[in-house]
Symmetry: C2
Subunit: 324 residues, 2 copies
């Protein structure tokens, strides 16, 4: 790998595309020690200091993932994934249609040999302690028990490289700590995980453990994982709104204003733009999925994660974790 | 029904039993216009102004629900449910083992005719707007699509009577608004709900809608529902802790102290003790499940809900909702 890795960036993906995406890409190129290639419609991207790979089609947020990826071969999502496949980029970042990003990465980068299904790993910030990695947070709704075993292996390799955890504690998300608790999927997955070598499986964990220091990697099917992720998003938005609303009350006085200042770092820590996006694990390349509402800062953070995971050779690590 | 309904209270259930439970029962009897009967071990309950129905056994929080209910016929959970079955009480409240409360209520009160499976309906406070009812939040982990249809009917009847919603908006919890999004269960349940008369089905909702004003009743299987509930619990605890931690910093000054005062009503609104517990829907009697950590205030609130639901004749309403 060159000293200065190249990251491909989908200029057309996300609610704030292309302007905020391009701004983020330019900022990353000047600050992060990476080369950034924009992928998209040159005329919509406009003036930029970055190289552009033309892609004439755009997959919309509401488009059907599999159909659009198959049908729109000149879309920015497909072209970006091809840059990684062809070795022209060490990673690809998009804040566009998540399902289409999963499909494009799968079809163009390919699956890592031995991996049954990919999984989206999302980083959940936990105030006062290290973040928790949740997977699958939305690639595949209905899962088989064996897939959860691979999610545990992939999530463990990812958490080690992303956050430096030495032996990440992996928990199976359920509705009670006892092995006998859960739905059929979880009850079948539990013994498979318990007998697995090479990961630090701590047993079942519950929803309340996700935002605590009890676990580092939480494994579950993509339906439950995505529901959990969006439930957390909604709860944080509601609560942060309520706290700031109470303190911003004009009758609240000056104390409240200074309290708002004290709470700003916490709000920033919890902001999804800070986390650097989710990572699609199990494909043969670095594929980073930004939040649809990503601003320029979120794009910079996502590119930093793409760079770090490329440099840490996460894909090779994943391959050996599964080969074990 | 008499002007002064009688509520049976499991004196032995919960982390703070029996003292906090008995204190809550006495407070409810003096303030709520209800008669309260304690159920449990007379010698452990000690001095009280309330009548006691002796039950020599106690089902522990960790006991297997079905086995303990079948084996411990003189337990407070079984005896309390029998008081409702026999008409000696209009409702039963316990902060003990949730699974055992479900089993005892099912076995002793019986299922409402036509109901396939019961569901636990939990009230989720939403700052700035009306609460959301989530069911099933833990009675049955693996569900059939048809059961979710009945959850929608039962949840709608409950939300109307509990919160006065005229035509509660019922949403199916999924991972996208489109009918095509979700796991197999949700994709099969969606058309059944869409063609159902008598409820206001608004389609799929996402996790982020739960703590918003977008929906009144959220329907899903008991595994996902319980994960959501505990995820919310953990997130609220983490966030409230972080906010109060930042403001309680000795360097934060006086402004922070006054800000804490401004936030106290919000913290109280979100406290599970405020919500009055969860209600088991589908059994032939009023069965209220308190949080395991219930204090006396939580018990008073739970008894108030039991009284209200008995007076509103929720069980009859449920029967006609299903008969429709």
């Amino acid at each position: 790998m060159s000293a200065r890795p190249t990251i491909a960036l989908d200029a057309m993906g996300g609610d704030n595309a292309p302007s905020a995406i391009v701004a983020g890409g330019e900022k990353a190129a000047s600050e992060l020690g990476v080369d950034v290639i924009l992928v998209g419609r040159r005329d919509e991207i406009g003036e930029t200091t970055l190289p552009v790979v033309e892609a004439s089609e755009v997959i919309d947020m509401a488009d059907d993932p599999a159909r659009s990826v198959r049908g729109m071969k000149d879309s920015s999502l497909v072209r970006g994934a091809e840059l990684v496949r062809d070795g022209a980029a060490a990673g690809f970042v998009s804040a566009g249609n998540t399902g289409a990003m999963v499909a494009a990465s799968l079809l163009r980068m390919g699956r890592i040999k031995g991996i049954a299904r990919p999984a989206v790993a999302t980083t959940i910030p936990v105030p006062g302690t290290t973040p928790t990695v949740l997977l699958d947070s939305g690639a595949i709704a209905d899962c088989q028990p064996q897939w959860l075993v691979q999610f545990a292996q992939m999530g463990s390799a990812f958490a080690s490289r992303r956050f430096g955890y030495e032996s990440p504690r992996v928990g199976l998300l359920s509705i009670g700590e006892e092995e006998s608790k859960g739905n059929e999927l979880v009850k079948e997955a539990h013994p498979l995980l318990a007998e697995l070598d090479g990961i630090n499986f701590i047993g079942n964990v519950e929803g309340r453990d996700i935002m605590s220091d009890a676990v580092d990697v939480v494994v579950i099917d993509g339906f439950t994982g995505n529901v959990v992720l969006k439930t957390l998003e909604g709860a944080l938005r509601s609560l942060v709104g309520a706290v700031f609303g109470a303190l911003a009350d004009p009758d609240a006085g000056e104390g409240a204003a200074s309290a708002l200042g004290l709470l700003a770092p916490l709000a920033n820590e919890l902001d999804p733009d800070t986390s650097g996006g989710a990572m699609l694990l199990g494909v043969d390349g670095v594929s980073i999925i930004g939040h649809g509402s990503s601003n320029a800062v979120a794009i910079v953070n996502a590119i930093a994660v793409a760079r770090d995971m490329a440099e840490a050779e996460l894909v090779s690590a994943m391959r050996s974790a599964i080969g074990r």
